[in-house]
Amino acid sequence: MPKGITASNDFVIKFANVNGSGSASANELFARAILRIGVPVATRNIFPSNIQGLPTWFEVRVSGKGWLGRRGGVDMMVAMNPQTWDKDVASIDAGGYLFYDSSKPMPESKFRADLNIIGMPLTEICNRTYSDPRQRQLFKNIIYVGALASLLNIDLAVIEQLIRDQYGAKQQLLDSNIKAVHMGHDYAEANLNGMCALDVVKSDGVGDRIFINGNDAAALGCVYGGATVAAWYPITPSTSVAEAFMKHCRKLRVDPDSKKNKFAIIQSEDEISAIGSVIGAGWNGARAFTATSGPGISLMQEFLGLAYFAEIPAVIFDVQRGGPSTGMPTRTQQADLLLCAYASHGDTKHVLLFPEDPRELFEMAAQSFDLAERLQTPIFVMEDLDIGMNDWLCKPLAWDDSRAYDRGKLMSADDLDSGKTFGRYLDVDGDAIPYRTLPGTHPTKGAYFTRGTSRDRFAKYSEEGAVYADNMQRLVRKFETAKKLVPAPVRRNAKEKTRYGVIYFGSTSAAMEEALAALETKGLHLDTLRLRAFPFSDDVIEFVNAHDQVFLIEQNRDAQMRMLLVNECAIDPARFISILHYDGAPITARFITGAIAERLNVNMKSKEAAE
């Protein structure tokens, strides 16, 4: 056997499975066991399709240092899918491990000489133990988790406890799962001992952090943020936002006395209808949202312009996936930035939020309803598949019980009775946000006719050019107000003074953290700015101007954030060096480090040559 990769709390193990074989829960059990031992993990689902029988992969990065981005490379492959065998075997790093089901003999040509091969007759063991075909299938997964525990030195008691937590009083399920884990463990102890030099060592790197996927966190943010109406149309990778909202509402939003729901969820006939209902509900004073992905946003364009112009609160979760067109539905990208920022015909601009992980997504989801009502406009929460559909280790979700919802500028019946002037599109206090009334507010005052065509400050129909322009200018001023209300960018200065900066946003955060540390060890220092929202505050311009060169990291082909920055902040495009990653897999620290180091070294070398 070749010399095996030796690593403690720092390796990548990838599971190649068949969709629908029950592997997902076993793999998650494996990842959670490592977390319970106090070692951080980052997991990623790679699923080219949701269809049963097709390949699916689950990648677990074990990182004692706590790096949560995708690392790249594979140290151990758990190869459970004959369809993808060749590709899976080829993807393992030299000296890595191939764990496979050795029940059927395989020709030598199917292996690689530079790998450590760990065979275990899983099918044989299952067939011997179980007679029911479904059980044979399901327990195979649990058995390999037991074997991996032995190979990687994971305390079996931790796995047992997790199984107990999961099955609770369901004694039969509990017993059979524990039995299967033991079976795998026992076999590996007896037959595979010493074959693997990767191990997991107890640590305190996890703390009170939680393990949650973004779509779940977004849905919780909607519950906490007071959303009562959701209208949606299924599309990967956003479907689980609506489904999780339903799940949480059933637990948290049912009136205990009447058993009636304090929420309404509509599965619309398409995305046009979904956004229409969100706008109708927002117009009528309920906090409403939809969740979709790029193709859905494309369909919503006309309505988004209406909501912008008629100034109606709406929240849209865009879980970005590979585009364009129907694109790569199960791959991640940050490629809907321009689509959302300038959604619709005519002059429009929209507020975008860029959460870095599920915890921030929870907060931004809740905050988006305040922003939507305060600014009376659509708010886009820009998720991506990587955040949305993968479990992330992040700080616990927090809520301040004294927090009140900001319902924005609403005129009440009392306000109207007290003689306050009501002009639906009248800026009374300089922030360019007008007051609105909800339908049914007052028997004789405050009603108006909402329209997508021109009207004056008092909502009266007008086709006068000056009246139209006056309103459009106010909308620009309102966007200025938005700059002060949206989450500010996060700036961090390097340990040493530097002429170089990096701008990044969204799910790139995890890989960026790690890349910065790696660059620092190479003596390359960079100040960083993490964008959290569009429109950009002046801090962004200041940051760019304070550096000779700014790397701009994006997960799209066309450097869409760069276009936005150049366009909105009148920045010289030459200041930016784009680092672009767009193959559909999440960006890695290796990629960022390599790209930045290469350019900096070239820059430094050419400078030296010049001097």
Binding site: K260, N261, L397
Partner: protein, 351 residues
């Protein structure tokens, strides 16, 4: 086009309804439609119906799409909130508005272009979802606002003003509404106010998805010989199956009945429908029969009008969603936010 404010002059002798409102209180801005447009008659029927129903104007929300017909909500109920949305998408906006506040009355106004072409999907889906509303199409067989192109409700063989012939078969909105579960379905003619007003009253009072297709001739583009949506054609081919009178408990109206059997139905809110049967064999409580009847009569070239179907036991979307009694838009953080203790439990389950 300019906005024309209507003088807010109240004549002291104007009749008042039970709430003390006059007709004027239900009017809107002055119409900018062509003189003689059928849509204007429908607006005045809406005004009459709301006056007689004693609706507080601000308790009603009026929504529309785009078209001459969709402009009309500006011309009635000036004290109601209105929403002139986008072409063909009023139903989804109305659905959302209804989700937010189930206590209000929702009136959706649309055209045949708005509902039968670009908005056909939304038309069908909001009805099948059971949204409590009155949905009116002001059906003229053409796109009035874009100057007279055939719409999807134009009959095959009917002639355009420019001389063209429509080759496509007509879409029947009434038939579709019946099929997808509207619990109140009627057809009427803008030229027959006596028929339209009680139908609107009944439709507004019906606690489920109500639909009225009102043939409403376009005098500018579709009122010529050879059109099957002209005033003359509809008058000649109109076959009313029944005559409806609507009595709200607060303002009983006395009416003279035309000969035939009269059936009375008391509705959930105590109001009463009186239905005079003009066709003795027509049963408006039998949906399947209604569909067959409509098909047969249409094949014979008749324009069947009247109350075509009603299910007095209708239930709406909120019943299916099991929403709380209070409108969702009135719930505060106290009712909506589960608080930090619940979140702590959720955190614990994620470790």
């Amino acid at each position: 086009m300019t906005y024309l404010a209507k003088p807010k002059f109240h004549h002291p002798d104007l009749p008042k309804n039970a709430l003390g409102f006059t007709h004027r209180d239900y009017e809107g801005s002055i119409s900018t439609l062509c003189a003689g447009c059928g849509h204007d008659s429908i607006s005045s029927a809406v005004i009459q119906a709301c006056f007689e129903l004693n609706i507080e104007p601000h308790r009603l929300a009026k929504l529309s799409g785009i078209g001459c017909s969709s402009k009309t909500p500006d011309y009635f109920l000036g004290q109601s909130h209105g929403f002139n949305s986008v072409h063909g998408r009023m139903p989804s906006v109305l659905t959302g508005a209804n989700l937010a506040n189930k206590e209000m009355i929702y009136l959706g106004v649309s055209g045949d272009g708005d509902s039968a072409s670009i908005g056909l999907g939304q038309f069908i889906h909001c009805i099948r979802r059971g949204v409590n509303m009155l949905y009116i199409t002001e059906n003229n067989g053409v796109y009035g606002l874009t100057k007279g192109q055939f719409s999807a409700t134009a009959d095959r063989g009917s002639k355009s003003k420019a001389g063209g012939t429509n080759n496509d078969s007509a879409l029947d909105l009434v038939g579709m509404a019946l099929q997808v579960g509207a619990t109140f379905v009627a057809r009427s003619f803008s030229g027959d106010k006596k028929q339209v007003v009680p139908l609107i009253m009944a439709g507004l009072s019906h606690p489920g998805p109500s639909f009225i297709d009102i043939i409403s001739p376009c005098v500018a583009f579709n009122n010529h010989a050879g059109s099957t949506k002209s005033f003359d054609y509809v008058r000649e081919h109109n076959e009313a199956v029944n005559r409806l009178d609507f009595m709200s408990p607060r303002a009983p109206i006395t009416v003279e009945y035309e000969p035939g059997t009269v059936a009375a139905v008391t509705l959930h809110d105590g109001s009463e429908l009186k239905l005079a049967k003009l066709h003795p064999d027509y049963d408006p409580y039998d949906r399947i029969n209604a569909m067959t009847y409509m098909q047969n009569r249409a094949a014979a070239g008749e324009v069947v009008t009247g109350l075509i179907y009603m299910d007095p036991q209708a239930r709406d979307m909120h019943a299916g969603l099991n929403t709380v009694d209070a409108p969702l838009n009135r719930l505060s953080e106290k009712e909506l936010c589960p608080g930090s203790a619940a979140l702590e439990k959720i955190n614990a389950s994620l470790r």
